[in-house]
Symmetry: C2
Subunit: 632 residues, 2 copies
């Protein structure tokens, strides 16, 4: 069993510059091809485009009116009007009509008095060529309309055709071969076999290539078999300009990518000092770039954008541009390794006047963090990270107008949050100028309270039991947030113990959670459900260490339900709607108040008002009835 554990730790810029310099020497130019001008949107010119004819190609009237022989009008003045006769002195023209011999000027319709059919009177002389668009006013034959290596915009197409050019030379599109690999990777999307995961990166890659004007050839996942992988790579490299091998670039027993690239050509570099994305391979096969991109979606997406895209754009002769940057206040401390440049996805929110950046999950595989992110924060190598409250630069991946119209909710998780967001967006699209969005992060109730205090969020969904009074939420606001904050009453929801359908372990109450044959799955510290769980265990005089799985923490109701449903735990505590969604049995513990903490300053904003409107809407009540477990 051979394992290659040691990769290099080269800086991204250095890695790219070494690699691109190598490619410079060997990379063939893109071919050029002729295409009709009207199909040229977004293509790059392969040679300068010169006008074949002038536009207009004749002297044309610039106005609606009459064309005249200017000499016949010279005598005209207010005191000595001149009478012009149709056919003899003038002819009617509309804008764009050709000015023919013997006519050499145009008088606007507004400056005429029509005396009789075929007779008009004028009081101003027309100077030669007045209101006449001369030949070539717009484009002169021979003029360069577009230079070489120009990306064609809509208006360019009009200009090319104006110049009488029907076909133009453009560079062929860059072709990128995309090769997902791995025994566990499947693209039978109808049915996921046990132990497999879907191939998703290749489709994301394809869309990125297409967004950048390239053509992607994606093949089905190739098994971890040296010969099959090698054959597939040879095949893809024969037809494409660039090949991307996804996964197999790491140090596992079946990570063949580097060996195969070395076998067929050269591994220029293996291992880059970025996180995520370290086990990246920069290789060359048959004078073509072959890049090994790690398998986790987070790494894969980042490496594709940071490394593959610059290679594509080098071939396209397009300058690589980073997304525009904004300044934001970091809401939480982010720690970074000195050894790597760290890429952290952040959610941005305009809370009050400040743009707040909240770091999202940094696990290598966290797809949803990327989907929900508004920006990318880069922590340089040799930096230990940034502190909460620090001003940081964030590269925007969402539109600023969307960010400014997003209600930021951080706190406890409930299934209704996403649904409220959906209703909000639909409603506001119809009634207000800006669509309002809801961004909802799940960090537990206490996490929400703290986020609200730090100004990261507009609202914090909470369900915090005060053990002394038995009441929910208000006392926590008083204790942790103070007078500047208040509560929006939300919904009542049912908490209980979730078990597999049929409750095979016969769990009837909280006391059963301490049984030796019962594996529990817990929620994270600071979540309302954890506080409830601890309260219930104390009431039963059960020590935490008696509960098998007490330390196994999930961050949402659905994650707890998923752990139970998969059989890795026998019981977990969560809301009815989650148990129902996963088809689990549910032993009720009771109802609790799921409310929203908000600062008084934000309470009256449009964003929060619209949220409250949706919270009280018939539409949401209907949805909650369907979900079940809500007291309405």
């Amino acid at each position: 069993m051979s394992r290659k554990i040691y990769l290099s730790n080269t800086d991204l810029e250095e890695a790219l510059s070494v690699y691109l310099a190598k490619l410079d020497v060997i990379l063939p130019s893109l071919n050029k091809e002729m295409i009709p001008a009207w199909e040229a949107r977004g293509r790059m010119t392969g040679s300068p485009i010169f006008a074949k004819i002038s536009s207009p190609n004749h002297n044309a009237s610039a106005m609606d009116g009459i064309m005249v022989i200017s000499e016949h009008t010279y005598a005209a003045s207010e005191t000595t009007p001149v009478l012009l006769k149709e056919g003899l002195d003038f002819a009617y023209v509309n804008t764009g009509n050709i000015i023919m011999d013997p006519y050499d000027a145009v008088i606007m319709i507004e400056d005429l008095v029509e005396i009789a059919p075929g007779e008009v009177r004028i009081i101003d002389p027309a100077s030669p060529w007045q209101h006449v668009r001369p030949i070539g006013e717009d484009i002169v034959a021979g003029e360069m309309i577009l230079p070489e290596n120009h990306v064609i915009k809509p208006m360019d197409i009009g200009a090319i055709l104006s110049g009488g050019v029907k076909e133009i030379q453009v560079y062929e599109k860059v072709r990128v071969g995309i090769m997902p690999t791995g025994n566990e990777i499947s693209d039978h999307y109808d049915n996921l076999e046990k132990g497999k995961i879907f191939d998703t990166n290749s489709w994301t890659f394809k869309a990125i290539v297409e967004n950048h004007g390239g053509l992607a050839e994606r093949i089905s996942p190739v098994a971890d078999d040296y010969d099959k992988l090698k054959a597939a790579l040879i095949d893809l490299a024969a037809r494409n300009h660039i090949v991307v091998v996804n996964a197999g670039s790491s140090a596992g027993t079946k990570d063949y990518a580097a060996d195969i690239i070395a076998d067929l050509g050269e591994v220029v570099l293996h291992g880059i000092a970025i996180k995520p994305g370290k086990p990246t391979i920069l290789g060359i096969v048959s004078n073509k770039p072959v890049i090994g991109v790690p398998g986790y979606p987070g790494s894969a997406f980042l490496v594709f954008e940071e490394i593959v895209l610059p290679v594509i754009q080098k071939m396209q002769k397009i300058m690589v541009e980073r997304a525009p940057k904004v300044s934001a206040i970091l809401s939480r401390r982010v720690v970074s390794s000195l050894k790597y440049r760290d890429y952290v996805r952040v959610k941005l929110g305009k809370v009050g006047d400040e743009l707040i950046a909240t770091p999202l999950s940094r696990g290598a595989g966290v797809t949803m963090a990327i989907v929900k992110a508004d920006g990318l924060m880069i922590i340089p190598k040799n930096s230990e990270g940034f502190d909460a409250g620090e001003e940081v630069k964030v590269e925007l991946t969402s539109d600023m107008s969307v960010i400014e119209n997003t209600l930021v909710s951080i706190g406890s998780h409930d299934l209704i949050m996403d649904l409220i967001g959906n209703i909000m967006a639909k409603k506001t699209q119809l009634i207000s100028k800006h669509t309002r969005y809801l961004s909802s992060a799940h960090v537990g109730s206490m996490g929400g309270i703290m986020a609200l205090k730090r100004g990261e969020a507009h609202i914090a969904p909470i369900h915090l039991l005060d053990e002394e009074t038995g009441a929910y939420n208000r006392s926590y606001i008083a204790r942790y947030l103070g007078e500047d904050f208040t509560l929006i009453k939300g919904v009542r929801r049912e908490q209980g113990i979730m078990t597999l359908p049929g409750n095979p372990k016969g769990i009837l109450s909280v006391g059963d959670l301490a049984r030796k044959d019962v594996a529990f799955v817990n929620r994270q510290k600071g979540s309302g459900t954890r506080i409830l769980t601890d309260y219930l265990l104390r009431k039963e005089n059960l020590e935490n260490k008696l509960i098998k799985g007490y330390d196994r923490e999930m961050t949402t109701h659905m994650a707890v339900a998923a752990a139970v449903e998969s059989g890795t735990a026998d019981a977990g505590i969560g809301v009815y709607s989650a148990a129902k969604a996963m088809g689990l049995d549910f032993i009720s513990i009771g109802f609790e108040d799921y409310d929203f903490a908000v600062s008084k300053a934000n309470y009256d904003t449009e964003l929060v008002s619209e949220f409250i409107d949706v919270l009280r809407s018939e539409e949401l009540i209907d949805i909650m009835k369907e979900l079940g477990g809500y007291g309405i």
Copy 2:
């Protein structure tokens, strides 16, 4: 002959808001359709997308190493290592592999000592579920992956598939019917009949629609015939969500668009207080928006972007966003009518530290001004315009990085300028980090001197004859620019009289220009060629008023050549290369120096150095030999 001269003069915002409010009531929603997730790039979700399965859908190893039964490892410590046996205590796993019963934790390969095949030693206990990605870590079944009305990005496609969703519901694409009209409009691009002009707007419109995710149905130009136009409009409206009628919206005798829209439905508004673009029609036919867009390319492009696009985006439920704005110093005064909002295309240049905005031609039909523009300056209604030196806001239509790497040349026209630009872009793409561009505006030599003085340009091409010394250019720099400026020696080029092939009027010298049977076409005041012309006429003691056509001014050599070639003038003065390009006869007057004025501060910049390199390059010399008329 019925003419509708009077149009309304409604403000753009009011017009759009009245129109969109009307459309709000009648506009049907877009239909929804199911498509495979992997074809969803850029489409808009028609309903929220919920995960069908969790991702991962099993507990998966997060590391390369071994999966173990955690209880078997608890005793491990540095002093009491634990020996694990394959099959009994552990199994090898790679990242992503499923964690199967009875295993519940993973130990990294780095933390193992392999003693013998099938035996490893550990010195740290493994806690349950360590290095295990739990089911649903990325996405939990039932979680909302994307809300409704979300435009799908590449990473979203990966997330949708991760959630086990193969097909998604999206809105159909907005279909826009595009109907060019006019007897003079042709789409036989192989051969332009006399008096006709090519249909170019419809293709620009189509590209804009496609850039915004819509589908365009373009038909061939429809003649100015009431019944034909009506039939075509009915036909297009039946198949499309929006119809654009191009041209025929004005007040000419054949401008039927408004009548036909009123006939079939309603003209909501005719005439908008913008310039260009006033004669726009906002109509409704069969509950569908029908917009009459003026014919001139400049008006057409602006009205499409300012009015048609917001209607398309309203149907798409996308917020309309204006391009980002930058501040720039206006180089010349721009006068505007109080009655209209004025849209002025500008060229931007980074000269020294300042961003300079130079207004481009404002004729309604000036295609090339739009192609060359970097931004759009909006002058509000009720403003008389802006002064030179004023700071103005410009909406960017080019990338700032391109603008910053563009050498701005303003001055005399020569055919080599475009060619130099082309060589510069090609060369710098290979050798430097940034591609360098050349933007070249033709305002004559004196115009160039003044532009340089105002800081609008990096260089000014000039060919100015000093009548006293007979030398070129240097004395003008001393007189108008002073010590801070210098001269880059350029090329020598031949000036002469251009006539039709065969010289039918037998023009032999400057003296013949005064003949009664000779129509002349002149260059604009301040151009080097005009100064030369006036000098030559004075030398012959010919008064300007003796020259027929002396007041007819063109701004480039090619435009003069085009006027001669079309027969509207018998003679014009210009360079040999222009005469040759147009196939004209040429009576030589002599050689002149075409040089480049530059400030000493800019002389040493990279941009100017690269320009000089190209000026001295073999490649340019070869091109000049081919053009002819250059003394090398």
